[in-house]
């Protein structure tokens, strides 16, 4: 059935294309899957993530909505409760604030308040992240608003493979999943993807690089900067840095976090979200509690500065983490 499509799958795909493929394949696989959001149909989405879906599946399953994020999420819940598998889109993750109540109060509590006798198999896709001159309202990383809400799952893929595999898992999961896709990665990364269907399990982190001296725990946009930094300090300082990609932010893969912390004894958490209240605090707290005896140095965090993401290039650069800043943080912690 997906014959024509799967012919392409072995080819190189961008992060964006990987998401698009996952949507195509899941819609073909399960007729209860449908897509809803602003400009997702004829336009194919502001970033072209939903391109081609309208032609392939028709306007009953690819629905352009009015500008109403609360309705979009709420209607997703209503359809999901009756067995549909809606994939709803926030045009930018920033606007998720307008659908906030429906996510944290209607969707996240649904199974709980129905005594486990109702489910909400919905995915909320939200293009997040900075570094594209988006300023205050097109650069946000809102993940930590949701990682504190039981009943939700939260994912943030950093590779094209994960983008595709995690989206498929999210769609097949019976719980509400918030899927943050980093828009700076859309076209900046490309990978060969395997042919045919594959999934990436929710809740499992992945060691992207093994190391002995120090662990970086990260996800999403800063994974690549962290890997670059690890390569630089290996070459220039002879440091062996392990890099753990969380991939799923709720539930956290505590085992993987503690394993890497115990292995190297030094932890640097890196994320593009702001420092204060970012998920780094939670991770540092877990490490400082459960791996305390293994620590050879303070648990450090490198994140965006505690402000909004500003517009002028020198300001944005100053606020966001980048490879150089990570290199410096690694050196500092290694020298501790």
């Amino acid at each position: 059935m997906v014959g024509a499509l799967s012919g392409n799958l072995a080819m190189e795909a961008t992060y964006l294309k990987a998401i698009n493929q996952a949507l195509h394949e899941e819609m073909a696989r399960d007729e209860n899957v449908f897509v809803m959001g602003e400009d997702v149909a004829e336009l194919g989405g502001a970033f072209k993530v939903t391109e081609g879906l309208l032609t392939a599946f028709g306007e009953e399953r690819v629905i352009d909505t009015p500008i109403s994020e609360s309705l979009i999420v709420g209607a997703g819940v209503g359809a999901a409760v009756l067995g549909m598998r809606p994939v709803v889109e926030m045009q930018f993750a920033d606007f998720i604030s307008c659908g906030f109540d429906q996510i944290v109060n209607t969707a996240a509590t649904l199974s709980y308040r129905h005594g486990g006798k109702a489910s909400c198999p919905m995915v909320v896709r939200a293009p997040s992240g900075a570094g594209v001159h988006g300023a205050l309202f097109h650069s946000q990383n809102p993940e930590a608003w949701f990682t504190r809400v039981p009943g939700l799952k939260v994912v943030a893929p950093a590779t094209a493979y994960d983008a595709k595999g995690l989206l498929k898992s999210a769609i097949r999961d019976d719980n509400p999943v918030i899927y943050f896709e980093h828009k700076r990665l859309y076209r900046s990364i490309k990978e060969d993807l395997p042919d045919g269907d594959f999934t990436v399990p929710l809740g499992k982190a992945e060691v992207r690089r093994e190391g002995r001296d120090l662990s970086i725990i990260t996800y999403g946009g800063t994974l690549h900067q962290s890997l670059d930094a690890a390569r630089i300090v290996e070459k220039e300082d002879g440091l062996s840095v392990e890099v753990l990609d969380l991939r799923t932010l709720l539930p956290l893969d505590r085992e993987a976090i503690l394993a890497t912390a115990r292995r190297t004894g030094k932890v640097l958490v890196v994320h593009e979200d702001r420092l204060t209240g970012g998920i780094g605090g939670e991770i540092a707290a877990i490490v400082a509690d459960e791996a305390f005896d293994y620590l050879d140095g303070p648990v450090r965090r490198l994140a965006a500065l505690d402000t909004h993401v500003p517009f002028a290039p020198p300001l944005e650069e100053f606020v966001l983490p980048n490879t150089n800043k990570i290199v410096e943080a690694i050196r500092n912690l290694a020298a501790y």
């Binding site: 399953r61 209503g78 359809a79 067995g83 109060n105 209607t106 006798k117 109702a118």
Partner: protein, 351 residues
């Protein structure tokens, strides 16, 4: 589907009489349930917030009467009656209110935030208005799957001020969804009178802002509500797009059982107490030739038995075990429990 053969329809007059008796029973059941809940609250057997719908039974019964199994309903906090009308077991409902293991939410949530999807009742969050987008989503499913079902969302005139209500009605209008919005206009949102909530007379008039029809009806007149509901629901079911019914009614008790409602005019209360939907309907039954004294006695007995059984069941039911607090947050990886229409059931329509 193949035509049903054999079973002849009952003669119209007899059918009408049976339906009237059934409606009467339902309305009295809801009233008695409400009253019992208030009493149990005073006895500290029901904790937390209790929001009585006493006085508003006619509209709940009337709107739900024409609904069919598989239809979707999202009641508001004052709508115990919707649960009872959709066929939710009274014992489980009472257990829900008491926080017992056998309740709809297994003790997780209070009052009407627990639902029963198998009977087509969605347990709304507390956030007023938030169930209207949800009802649109249910209706969207019916539309996509070409099912002849409808979704019904109940909301107060107070909740009508929330943005979600607007977003939902607008979307319903654009998509021509099979959804019925029911505004229970009981003149107060907690202490705030209608005039301070909005500057128009009828919430129903807002339907025009979304391209569908609104209807105002005397919410304490069961006959009027049923008549209108049948008409509007038939049209929605036939693909006519959304509808809005505003039922003018009145909240007899305080906002919650904690509220003495001193902000209200006693004259107004008296006036509305005299618009009790039950005697009004008895008057009609009498005119229709029912032996009203006998019917009342029989109905009361049936009602009392049902409610006592419900209370006994709930009373006997245990509280959940403490550790269960961590259950039900997520459902497993299997098929969704609230799966497609087969699972969604409800009462046969009363007609």
């Amino acid at each position: 589907m193949a035509e049903q053969d054999g079973s002849a329809a009952p003669a119209p007059v007899a059918a009408r009489a049976a339906q009237d008796v059934e409606l009467y029973y339902r309305m009295k059941l809801v009233r008695a349930f409400e009253e019992r809940v208030s009493r149990l609250h005073r006895q500290n057997k029901i904790l937390g917030g209790v929001y009585s719908g006493a006085g508003q039974e006619a509209l709940v019964v009337g709107i739900c009467a024409p609904l069919e199994p598989g239809d979707f309903t999202a009641p508001l906090h004052r709508d115990l009656g919707v649960f009872l009308m959709r066929g939710v077991d009274p014992g489980r409902l009472m257990a829900q209110l008491m926080g017992k293991e056998t309740g709809l939410s297994r003790g997780k949530d209070s009052f009407l935030h627990g639902g029963d999807i198998a009977h087509g009742v969605f347990g709304s969050s507390s956030m007023l208005g938030s169930s209207l987008p949800v009802a649109c989503g249910a209706a969207l499913k019916f539309k996509i799957k070409r099912e002849r079902h409808i979704a019904v969302a109940f909301f107060g005139e107070g909740a009508s001020s929330r943005g979600d209500v607007h977003e939902a009605m607008n979307f319903a209008g654009v998509q021509k969804l099979p959804v019925l919005f029911v505004c229970e206009n009981n003149r107060y949102a907690y202490s705030t009178p209608f005039e301070k909530q909005t500057s128009i007379e009828n919430i129903a008039d807002r339907a025009a802002a979304y391209g569908f029809r609104g209807h105002v009806c005397p919410g304490n007149d069961l006959l009027a509500v049923v008549g209108l509901a049948e008409r509007v629901i038939d049209s929605i079911r036939a693909g006519g797009g959304p509808g809005l019914i505003e039922c003018k009614t009145y909240r007899w008790r305080g906002h919650s059982e904690h509220d003495p409602a001193l902000y209200r005019d006693q004259e107004e209360l008296l006036e509305w107490e005299s618009r009790d939907p039950i005697p009004l309907f008895e008057f009609y039954l009498d005119k229709r030739g029912h032996d009203i004294n006998r019917l009342r006695a029989e109905t009361d007995e049936k009602v009392n038995t049902t409610i006592q059984a419900a209370v006994d069941f709930a009373d006997r039911s245990p509280y959940p075990e403490p550790e269960e607090a961590l259950e039900d947050l997520y459902v497993g990886q299997g098929a969704a429990p609230g799966a497609p229409s087969a699972a969604v059931n409800g009462r046969r329509p009363i007609r």
